[in-house]
Each structure stands twice: as C-alpha cells, then as structure tokens.
Amino acid sequence: MTELIEKALQLLAAACAPEAMAVLDADPSELKETASLLERYAIPRSRGAKLLALVTLLELARKRHDGLTLADERLTGRILDGDYFQSLYVQLAVQFEEMELVRYLAPLLKRHYVRLALGEAGGERLVVSLEGYLRAEQAVSREEHAI
C-alpha cells in the first residue's frame, strides 16, 4: 500500500507545473483508506496509482476551498491552488485515459458544490464515490464477460 501511495505522489509531483505555487501537501496517512480500497478491488498497481493521484487532487482542491473568508491570510493562494488542482485533475484524467471516471464523478462533484453554495453540508466522501465507480465498472465487466 505504501508503494501505491508513493507512486501516486510521484505522479502528482511530476504533473504539477513548476510555475504553480501549489504545494502538494497530501497526507500519506489520509490516502491509506483510498489505497486500501484500490487493493481490495484488485486494481493493477500502475492504474491504482493513477486513480489515487486523481482522487488526491480532488481531495486537495476541496480542502483548499473549504471555509474561505476575506480575512484568510492565504486566501489568494488557496483559491488558486484549488482551481489549479481541479483543472489538473481533468488534464491528468485525459492523459491517463480515465475519462469514464470523470464522467461518473462529474455529477457527484457538481452536487457537492451545489450543496456548499447553498450553505448545506457537502456531498459524499470521495473514497465512497470512488468505490461506487469501481463497483459499477466491475459490474459492467462481469456483464460483458457473461455475454
């Protein structure tokens, strides 16, 4: 699992533009739950690292934009970081050929922001959304196999 997390963080470090001032400060211990999920679903290591990297970007974007006020000393940096991580997520998903994941998560991510914009609690945790995707993907694979 540690190897998977390290590989995901390496992918992110390589993808992040040097001009970006965003710090990829993902906490490896927080990635363990997602890494463990990917292992449970027997996702091959190279793909697992990519999926973990993508979900980590979304998680970082959420954290950066959480609870911002004009009084925040790092307001500008946090806005830019969140925006950058979100666009990098799509960019990497295209590169990793994981657009089906983007398609699956898109309405969930959008509904999360709708709730927050309306002052409600956010949507489901990203690890839960990812599990939904992996489950759906395996169901399709089983159906295709049966045919």
């Binding site: 533009a17 001009e19 970006a20 001032m21 965003a22 934009h65 609870g67 911002l68 006020t69 004009l70 307001l75 500008t76 940096g77 806005i79 830019l80 969140g82 925006d83 950058y84 979100q86 666009s87 990098l88 799509v90 960019q91 295209v94 657009m99 089906e100 983007v102 398609r103 898109a106 309405p107 991510l109 959008k110 509904r111 999360h112 922001y113 709708v114 927050l116 914009a117 309306l118 002052g119």
Partner: protein, 328 residues
C-alpha cells in the same frame, strides 16, 4: 447604429445567450429559485462581450461540418468557464464591482461565491464529460489545459505583484496564460468540433493567441486612458494592485520615472498613485505598448495567411479589425 461583433460575423448571439442560461436552468440539481441559480443568471445577464463563444463559433466555420448545436454548446461552455474564473478573480482582487454592479461575493459572501464558481466549473466538466471518444479529446482542453493555464497566469501575477524587476518575457508569459490561451483554445475547439483539418486548427490557435495578447495589452493601456465609467472599475487599478503591466514595464525604463514607480507599494496614498499615473501618461510608455499591440495584430494575420482563400477567412478579418480597435 454600428453592428455588433456577433452581427458582423452573422453569429446568433441570442442563441448563445440562451444556451449559456440553459446550462444552469436545465440543471435538475439546482433549485430554480435558489441563490445559486439567481447568482449565476445575474452574472451571465450582467453583460460581457461574449468574445470566447464568438471565437468558438467563428472557429467552427473552418470545418467541413455545419455549425450546429454541438458548437453552440461548446461556445456556452467557454463563456461559463470564463464567468467562473471572474468570480474567483474578483475575490482575489477584492473587487467590489463587476461590470459596474456589485461583484458576486459582496452579495453572497466569499465562501458561497467560491463554491458558485466551483459549481460552474464542475457543471462544464459534467456537460463535456459525455465526450469520451478519442477523437473528441480536444473538447477537454477547455476545462483542463486552458483552465490550468489561467491559474498559472494568476500564480505569475501573484508572484510578481509589486515586482518592478519583472522582465518583459515574464510579463508576456503571464499574459499568454491569463488571457491569450483560452481565446486560442476557443478558436481551435470550434474548428476541431466541426471537423476542420488539424493544420487549420493549429493556425487558428496561433491567430487566437496573438489576438489575445493584443487584447490584453489594450486592456493594460485602457487602465491608463479610459474613464472609470468605461472600465466599470477605478482607472489605474492595475498599478494600485501592484500589477506591472506593459506600460509600467516601459515606463520603468525611463530613469526619470523609475523611482516614482518603484515607490508604489500596497499602502501608497491614492494621490501619490495618481501622480505616477499622470507621469506615465505623459511619457512614451503608452505609445510603445501600442506598438507592441500592433505587432501582435500583424502576427495574428501572418499566422492565418495560408487560409486566405478559405470561404470563412472574412471572419478572421472581422475579428482582427475588432481586436485592432476599429469598428467591425
């Protein structure tokens, strides 16, 4: 009355506006009377030149497929991305006005405004995520590459605030990221969406990038020459916020002006800033900036010279005249 840019290009602006509004109105996840729906619609209806959607449609005319609902959807998505970036920009700049009206965060609070911007970006990703085929990959440039470039431009701006040692190259790179690349991507996306040849789309990209550079330089010049009413914000805002724009860079090369400009810091009184603005206006910095702008306009036309015999070439001439500051 002079025809508008969309009228001259025979672009149905009402259809574009309808399509933009549909993005939020037909979103079943957004309550119709919610602050979210009202805020997005208010922002969209507050005006704006719709340059990015116009560029998508103009680009699509270089393809062999007819311009239709797909192109209008992409055009609307481009404007949605631009509008979302404006919400976050206004918070970053602490701007209380947008197009002469109170900016969104002053009405909803910062946290809600951040998430309204995020909603708009996520909605575009949702709409475009239907394009999963390999030959449709270019569609995602709008919500990934171009958007990431916008952020990189903003990072550069942040890094170089009140940096009077910024180089011309750094300024140009920031401008390319912040303004020019989204415009260029709009033209290319429009062209590829209508099955234009990749070489044609690449030429249109270079044309759009040069026009975008000229557009931003004009904006920089207007900060010194236009009135607050025209700008929708106080004149000289860039200098007050420590933005070392092209006229400021040229003015810094004048030893008589340099110390006055370098003295401008976040707490500098308005009267002192106004004095520096006046000094810059009376020097040759604006004229030199104008020359650079014209140079980009010339590069734009050179980039599309091989398309001269294309039936849609006239669209590019109209865009060139518009960005060149002449009436379309």
């Amino acid at each position: 009355m002079k025809p508008s840019l969309p009228e001259t290009l025979h672009i149905d602006i009402k259809r574009i506006n309808r399509e933009i509004e549909h993005i939020v109105k037909y979103d079943k996840d957004v309550p119709r009377t919610s602050v979210l729906a009202r805020s997005v619609l208010q922002l969209i209806r507050s005006g704006g030149k719709r340059l990015r959607p116009v560029l998508v449609i103009a680009g699509s005319r270089f393809g062999c497929a007819a311009t239709g609902s797909r192109q209008y959807q992409l055009a609307a998505a481009a404007e949605f991305i631009h509008a979302a970036s404006l919400i976050h920009d206004d918070i970053i700049d602490r701007s209380e006005l947008r197009r002469g009206a109170p900016s969104l965060h002053t009405q909803t609070g910062v946290s809600a405004a951040i998430h309204i911007g995020n909603y708009m970006s996520a909605r575009v990703v949702e709409l475009l995520s239907g394009y999963t085929a390999d030959h449709d990959r270019f569609v995602h440039d709008l919500s990934s590459l171009a958007t990431a470039q916008l952020c990189l431009g903003e990072y550069e701006q942040l890094r170089h605030a009140y940096d009077y040692d910024q180089t011309l190259e750094q300024y140009l790179e920031k401008t390319r990221c912040k303004t020019a690349q989204l415009m260029a991507t709009c033209l290319r996306t429009g062209a590829l969406s209508a099955d234009a040849r990749p070489e044609t789309a690449a030429m249109l990209y270079r044309f759009g990038e040069a026009l975008g550079m000229a557009f931003q330089i004009e904006d920089d010049i207007l900060d010194f020459t236009a009135t607050a009413e025209t700008l929708g914000k106080p004149a000289g805002s860039d200098l007050v916020r420590g933005q070392v724009t092209l006229p400021v860079l040229y003015a810094l090369a004048d030893p008589g002006l340099e110390p006055y400009i370098r003295a401008i810091q976040p707490e500098t009184p308005a009267a002192e800033v106004n004095d520096v603005l006046e000094r810059i206006r009376s020097g040759d910095a604006l004229e030199r900036s104008e020359q650079m702008r014209r140079q980009y306009l010339r590069s734009a036309m050179q980039a599309v010279e091989p398309l001269r015999s294309h039936p849609a070439y006239g669209q590019l001439e109209v865009l060139h005249r518009y960005f060149g500051g002449k009436t379309a």
